[in-house]
Amino acid sequence: MLCLRHTRRDFLRSSVGLAGLTLPTFLKAQAASIPRRRKAKACIVIYTWGGMSHYESFDPKPEAPVDIRGEFKPIKTATPGVQFCEHIPLIAKHSNKLAIVRSVHHNDGAHSGAVYLNLTGHRPEGQINAKGRKNWPSITSVISHFHRPIAGVPGAVRMPYSMYDNGRQMAGEGAGWLGGKYDPILMRTPAGEPYGGVSRFDDPALNLKLNLEKERISDRLTLLEQLDQSLGQRLGDSTAYEKLDYYRQMAADMLLGSPVREAYDLETEDQRIRDMYGDHIGGQSLLLARRLVEAGVPVVQAVCSAGDLAGGGGDNWDTHRNHFFKMKNRLLPVFDRAVSALLTDLKMRGMLDETLVVFLTDFGRTPKVNGNGGRDHHPGVYSMAFAGGGIQGGQVYGASDTKGIEPASGACSPADIHATVYKAMGIDHNAELHDQLNRPYVICDGQPLPIV
């Protein structure tokens, strides 16, 4: 496997011949200069729902024919020789914190399978459904199993919506066979202009704000009754009872004075920090993610999109039509501002070295722009990224070919990405977990990329 680690490659190219420095010597020298690697204590997963174009984000192809490279130009980043799309100029300034992977690929061209694969690290077997307890657990659920929070703090939180395609909720966001206790708590981000488009609210989402505005709640039983009323009718699935019970207990814990309750109240954040993230649910979700990590939540997932892809309208990354207009005007500006704000904020608060930020998406987009000015699904190759949490920034792992059609080097799978996350989080990717019937499963069948 070829490792295109820019700093190392450039160094080797320039000096191996001259000074006769051997690779092991260099590696030893490098190891000595970098402080001991720390394990990340928290993880923020940023999911660009619908499939983010690699061309118009981390892997522009300026040399490709015009019908492939598209309308946008590349720009320089803070890392010499690495270019991003011109519409993420703020993120480009943070490239020294990012490890970009340009060679992820799989072969599932449907959203349902691709989401499942990217969130669980496993291929779907047979029919999958969102509430299924035979599903593999989400990466957030697995992390929360190994990184236990203190009492009253949820192990995993996701926001601001569940993912839907044509009214069908996607599988892979829940805990599956790990059991309802590990289902991430869905939270509605309390501020920011909502994404345009449809968002489904039939999952029990916690709106702590409603309760924050009430007088301080001290009576647990009354609170549980209130929660039952607001959550009760929404659950129609077979696991409802188990889920609801865990859910309401956790909700009650949070409302009764956990640090999470305070974190959720974005009104207490400095207005200028809020402005830095952007007055949009995308930006405010990432701000809330930082605050939840500060409050001791081990893993937070933020979906950068509205909930339902149906009809092609709205702010999602499934840009089959009018791709360039949507990317330039609706999607990339929010993504650029929110992500760069998160990286700035984590860095200046001294949180970045213990907080792993991971960017995931369904798949890339097709090389050829279609008749509707859109790009279609392309799992053949796509890009993702890591930041913080012991990841060495300023590197690119793997490459796509000159037209962005398939990996040219460093081909890797969503499972390899998961193994990398687990390694950064100090979790053995070969660890076994047990389902509800105590059957053992090895959590991941990928290999960590050599970027941690």
Partner: protein, 289 residues
Amino acid sequence: MIRLLLIIAGMLGGQAFGQAFGQADDQAAIDSIKKNGGLVLPSSEGENQWDIQFQLRGRDLTDAGLADVAKLGNVVELNLRDTKITSDGLVHLKGLAKLTRLHLERTNVGDEGIANLARLNALEYLNLYGTKITDKSLDHLAGLKKLRQLYIWQTDVTDDGIAELKKALPAISIEKGIELTTVIPVKKEEPKPEHDLKWLQDGGDEKPPAKSITGEFTIIRFINKRDKAVKLFWIDYGGKPMFYGIIEPGDERRQNTYEDAVWMVADQRDMPLGYFVTGREFARAIIPR
């Protein structure tokens, strides 16, 4: 091994068990830290070393409570973020020779407290953002040869102070953060309507579609030029009118919608006056006199 024994001791609920192995002092300190809301976690750095965190449940910690941390000794990580400690309390940290990572951010500590850290030679990470420190604190840190990460956002440390410390500690990375006054909120540019939608008079020759179809997101500015208020309805995907609001005479309404949507304008008695059909572009919809 000792860590394991301590855990077993804890599980048996027996301080006596710990005492038998000479860990009584540690156990008493741990109990006291926990009573103050602190978490005592075995550090991943090595055996019998502690990662102590007060920032989640122990924010009421005061200076006196830090004496327990000093008693415990083998502390490699200590997080005091958001606690009520002051400079006076830091005297208790003087002897923590193994401390590699110290969080003091968002507390009331100042220069006189930081003087107590001058001999913490194992320190690699020190977070002081949002404290009362100045350049004087940086003088106290100049001898900490292992210090690699220093956070001073929202303090009175100056660029000169940073330059001085970098002379003493060339390998250090000092994070100054951003000046919040430079944050410029995104101006929400109201999209300029590119054209006017056609008014389809009720009962006229040109009929609107029976229902909306969903498409790309767009924004329509409805402008009521009539001398009476009108009611605005969206004709949904099944052809049913859904009431959205009233537009007073001369008023405007900015409406998020999608292309190929049908909007009906009616009078106050819900009698249809006319229709607009949206396109992809942002547009004006002028309700005529």
